[in-house]
Symmetry: C2
Subunit: 305 residues, 2 copies
């Protein structure tokens, strides 16, 4: 039994006339007759009652016609699904992200993507840097939107930068640095720092180490946090100050004060990470394209529009 048999039977069952059905199918009537006979022979069931005035369906024929209709429809849908998947217009997209650094670029990109490709279900995974890297490597994540990986994190991982942020120092309003316009790195070296946890955010320590090594110093880590929100809390209660990017203001609001960090060339880089040999689906590529577009820093072009 082949789909041809089913398509032919469907045509005959709907036209109730071999000659007309054959014309619709653009084949000769005898060819059609034979194929339908073959189908009936293979089933061992009479589907049609032939008469010189046309054809009627037997009870079995009626049942089978409905089944065939459904089957051919499903087949067509399956083909369309897989084509849509190949076009990036269908499927699931597992995206990992670091919540705080991506707060400015991920939401607009998501919105634009969902509007452009509503058939794709985006599954967001909020994870630490090292978990993101692990997810990419084992294939549970297709893409990760995160801070640029460093050190051991970079093997088998590709990174495409979307945006850089200057580094800031976050502190309470009561902190002495609050009176400064900007904070030189050299002054920070003596201060207790609140940082992210070394276990989950190894690239954060690469950044700290590089920055302090440049001035021949070492950071004094007073506390390690396993998320940005606990880091904010630690700073807020006065356990120390922290290195963050300016967009922390978007998540922490007025709970802390932020001052530009000077005396270092280090910046925070946020972008797209993917496994070097992981296949990115067409939907993933579309998402990247939208990320690139929406994360371009818009210069407001004041005065003229």
């Amino acid at each position: 039994m082949e789909l041809r048999h089913l398509r032919y039977f469907l045509a005959v069952g709907e036209a109730l006339n071999f000659t007309k059905a054959a014309a619709q199918l653009r084949i000769a009537q005898p060819a059609l007759s034979r194929q339908v006979q073959d189908l009936e022979d293979e089933l061992g069931v009479d589907l049609l009652r032939r008469s010189p005035r046309g054809v009627t369906l037997t009870t079995e024929g009626k049942l089978f016609l409905e089944e065939v209709r459904e089957l051919l429809k499903r087949a067509e849908e399956s083909v369309e699904k897989v084509r849509a998947l190949a076009r990036g217009e269908y499927g699931e997209l597992h995206i990992g992200y670091a919540p705080s650094p991506t707060v400015e670029i991920l939401p607009p990109a998501l919105a634009a993507f969902q509007k452009a490709v509503p058939g794709v279900k985006v599954l967001l995974h909020d994870l630490s840097s090292d978990e993101l890297i692990a997810g990419l490597r084992e294939g549970t994540l297709e893409l990760a939107i995160m801070v640029k990986p460093a050190g051991e994190q970079t093997t088998a991982i590709e990174f495409e930068m979307l945006r850089t942020y200057p580094l800031c120092v976050a502190m309470t309003a009561a902190h002495p640095f609050a009176r400064l316009k900007s904070v030189p790195l050299a002054k920070v070296a003596a201060e207790p720092l609140v940082g992210l946890s070394r276990k989950d955010y190894s690239e954060y320590y690469h950044m700290l180490d590089r920055a302090f090594a440049a001035i021949g110093a070492k950071p004094r880590i007073a506390a390690e946090c396993d998320s940005a929100s606990s880091l904010i809390t630690e700073v807020e209660v006065g356990d120390g100050i922290a290195f963050v990017t300016p967009n922390f203001e978007l998540i922490a609001g007025k709970r802390l004060l932020y001052r530009p960090l000077t005396g270092t060339t280090e910046v925070g880089s946020v972008g797209i990470a993917r496994a070097t040999k992981g296949d990115v689906t067409p939907a993933g590529e579309k998402f990247c394209a939208i990320l690139r577009k929406t994360s371009r820093r818009v210069t407001p072009a004041k005065g003229k529009r």
Copy 2:
């Protein structure tokens, strides 16, 4: 696209190896390669990644494999369904019946049928004689278990008798006939009779007319009822006596008394009616066979087993 392409792709997708899949399918490997290529070409989607160590599924391939699995399973089920239908082991069976006359034969037949052919859904339609005949003619009923049709009812209808019942007279315990062992028809001629309605049970009047015509009399109909249960009620309240078959005792119980009717050759005949040119499905035929078997009057063969 043909089912062959799907079957072949399924084999490759499961074996993840063209050579082995070809062996399972009992075709040569190049033939399989080509068919799968043709499928991919037609879809315009790569389903497989070939390598010298075998084959892996692309994301699209994984999706399509699941779809194909489902599709082929459904196709197989459809074929099985229609074959089961042809064997009389699946489908719906619309059976009309006259409740009172069939009370002895229909329930055991139904039970035996459901046990023998559990895949068939029997749909019972409790109707009057004339409605049964109409249902058979228009095809909404496949079979009717009923009293033998008479007169106009017989055109385009075939009847197969299953059992005959002697006629009885039903009456209240207070009625004068209650003291008789049996009631001669001639005595009944003077009595007011309760009958079924002429509109819905025309064969009932043919029976009455034939019986009384034989003795040169006419029945005196005091009330017409549109169902057996209202007939019982009418007799019970004393509006008259009624011609019934002995199995009324099974539905009316002790509410009435029954006396054999003598002086007539008329009997009540119950059997299977079908439309002369209506197709009876294999399931219907099975039902008839079971009816014939279960409705044979069992002679208890006292004393020996």
